[in-house]
Symmetry: C2
Subunit: 450 residues, 2 copies
């Protein structure tokens, strides 16, 4: 296989005080509660020429297992709401992309389209929307539901929501606003396009009441890996944030998703695949392992048991003895395959409850890399060159410590190999990711309906 | 009447390129399209120690009368969405309050509560929410409605919406988040409060997934002057942005609204009344008039006719001859009293169509003051000392020109009279407005329902 010509992309996934569930107790982490903390993180990533910073989101707090929730930073209480935080960061950064997660489940598409359009204008074309559906009952209860909305219904809404947002982003031609003081014409009405969307979930006339986006449209990112999630991504997304543990799985996911683009009239390079990685790096392998073990040692039993209860879909496990074997579990409705996998692992290796929760605590399902800069760069290069990824979203174990480590140790190694940029070449998030300015194909259909 | 001891408040209402409908054609106005423009406006107001900047909003574009809409900046297309813009400004200002308008008609209370909570944390306690209901059909059509929602229904939703937002803002005691690295406890579960709201429009469990507001709660502002609007304000608002032309009307509105607070267990000083003023100021009266006439001369006929059509509720008037008399109008459903007033004025003074639209074009219903610094300060002082206002929201005719004029000429005159502060005394918007940190009275009711 010949070497890929393009560079890989790097994102900095800024989650609480870091991705490790006990990061907030580590001296490597700030408490990540002030705007100044996030300005620091964003500038560290921008100085390193990362493509983007990336913010997750949820709209509920996990209060059902309060003992675990109250002992971790990862309970669903975010220090800031993503769109407002990225807007603040837009004012104090100049090049790095700004990607926020917003769920389609509990917002109106007009408001979401407009806020991302606004962020794009505030930042000079650096915004991206990570489209998710909400998978937690704790969120549903804050939005008039009695419990979680079914998967199929969430995706039906998400499909239509994405179409409305994309359509609204094409409300105005790029040169619609003349603002000609002499003639007195402010905009050209022929360059204004009503959407006139009439669907099952939404009826939206348009136009969006904000001038057009500096990069054509904000970049559309997605994270779903289910069948409907992959189809929605193949049809609409420009980047996927995903989780695969092995090279084989990554290559298979990559070719699966890219293979779906053709039927939607899209080229394979219109969608970038960016798996998350959880790197613990140090000069030597033993130092890296030591650093990881230190983080693991900060996990309180109630937090580990809470994590395990979530992964197994078995709330009763919070009462288990950490030093004992895995207790017999009640039948569960959700996540059966994950439960079976973990129980099989525990049986095979004779793990205690604590052993098992420590296995899942670090990267929480993402690809965990503990080692030297060369070891980690080798693995990233292998995955990139074999078309398992177009880049990586760095889930630093601690913030800022883990991010700084990665940038100080791994990024120079990637640069030595010609895999990562030395300088930004463009100014927008599309420029960084190598994405074209989209053509408003949707336009004609919308106008036909007028 | 003895002199009031407190100082008056000043807000800078930042609307497009200025409040005058033709401001965008004036050399005194920037095109107000970039973040840099708004950073400049905010810093001008902060350097002058204003209490707050204030952003209006709408969620639709007035495309039904496209000829007028396409020749003005005031068509409903805002350069930025308010919450994202204020979040960006939070990062580059340090003391001035940040008040954004968000409608209760087309959003979810959880999302609104959270974004204002986030803005409050980003800004160190400087956020305010201007609660409005949406009065335009052009907005309704973007949110699944076939036309405007009835007034009573809009207010019923707004009442419940406000209760949910206020309740969510009290989700966490100010000291709930311990973040004790040694013990591993992140928050104290006894200081978390579920809302458990079950109403006609909303069911919201809570808690809000953001730590508590630095100023207790964001400041709640309102603008409605109808009966239900005044009741909602008396029950929940901490500032009212209003419009009265005469001293008599202002004093009557002031005492009416303040008189309603008692029945909700509130003191008169828990609600500040801040009328909008549209000031055109210059060293001499003739210069001020000249400046105003210059702005008026920039109004194109199609824009004037469009304004008049809106004020009279008579779309057919866009075809009238500007130099002719007011044509006979069809019967109208909405705004009958305003129509009758304007028609009577035109008859009494023998006004042409152009004369009439020029009368309403400047301040568009707000208090218009054209004169010298002393003349304007006299009128503001009179209104303040006679309890017609607790301060004023400055609707500069042009931005930044008109705002700079007011600050350079009128503010020093107010300071000489001891009416306006020389320096900020506190750090939060509550500090500036003289508002107490609210007690979460709502708490007990919510908890009783648990």
């Amino acid at each position: 296989m010949s070497r890929r010509k393009e560079k890989l992309s790097l994102g900095a996934f800024l989650l609480f005080t870091g991705h490790h569930v006990a990061a907030w107790r580590s001296p490597e982490a700030s408490d990540s509660q002030s705007l100044a903390d996030f300005v620091q993180f964003a500038r560290i990533a921008e100085d390193a020429k990362f493509d983007a910073i990336f913010l997750a989101d949820m709209v509920g707090v996990r209060v059902d297992r309060i003992e675990g929730a109250s002992h971790k930073a990862h309970s669903g209480v975010y220090p800031f709401e993503p769109l407002t935080l990225l807007s603040a960061l837009a004012a104090v950064t100049s090049r790095i992309g700004l990607v926020a997660t917003v769920s389609t489940s509990y917002s109106e598409p007009f408001n979401v389209a407009r806020q991302f359009g606004s962020l794009d204008r505030l930042s000079g074309g650096r915004s991206g929307w990570n489209l998710v559906t909400s998978t937690e009952a704790s969120a549903a209860l804050n939005f008039n539901h009695d419990g979680l909305v079914a998967h199929a219904e969430r995706y039906a809404r998400a499909e239509e929501f994405a179409d409305v947002v994309l359509g609204l982003w094409d409300s105005w031609d790029h040169d619609a606003f003349e603002r000609d003081r002499a003639s007195g014409r402010y905009f050209d009405p022929d360059k204004l396009h009503l959407l006139n969307h009439q669907g099952r979930h939404f009826r939206v006339r348009g136009p969006l009441n904000i001038p057009p986006s500096p990069q054509g449209r904000p970049v559309l990112v997605q994270a779903g890996s289910s069948g409907p999630g992959k189809e929605l991504a193949a049809r609409t997304a420009e980047a996927i944030f995903t989780a695969q543990q092995t090279l084989e799985d990554a290559v298979s996911f990559y070719s699966d998703v890219k293979g779906r683009l053709h039927k939607y009239g899209r080229d394979a390079d219109e969608l970038k695949i960016l798996p998350g990685i959880f790197p613990v790096v140090a000069e030597t392998e033993s130092e890296a392992k030591e650093k990881f073990d230190e983080l693991q040692s900060l996990i309180l039993p109630q937090v580990g048991l809470d994590l395990l209860a979530g992964f197994l879909g078995a709330p009763e496990i919070v009462h288990a003895d950490p030093n004992g074997p895995i207790p017999a579990l009640k039948e569960t409705e959700g996540g059966k395959s994950r439960q079976a996998l973990l129980l099989e692992l525990a049986r095979r290796e004779g793990l205690t409850v604590r052993d098992l929760y420590l296995r899942i605590a670090g990267a929480r399902g993402h690809w965990q890399l503990v080692g030297t800069p060369v070891q980690i760069a080798d693995q990233l290069e292998e995955r990139f060159q074999n078309y398992g990824a177009d880049g990586f979203n760095i889930m630093a174990p601690t913030l800022p410590g883990g991010l700084t480590d990665f940038i100080r140790l791994v990024v120079p190694e990637l640069r030595r190999r010609g895999l990562f940029r030395d300088e930004y070449e463009g100014t927008t998030l599309r420029d960084h990711l190598g994405l074209r300015r989209p053509q408003p194909a949707r336009r004609s259909a919308a106008e036909a309906a007028e």
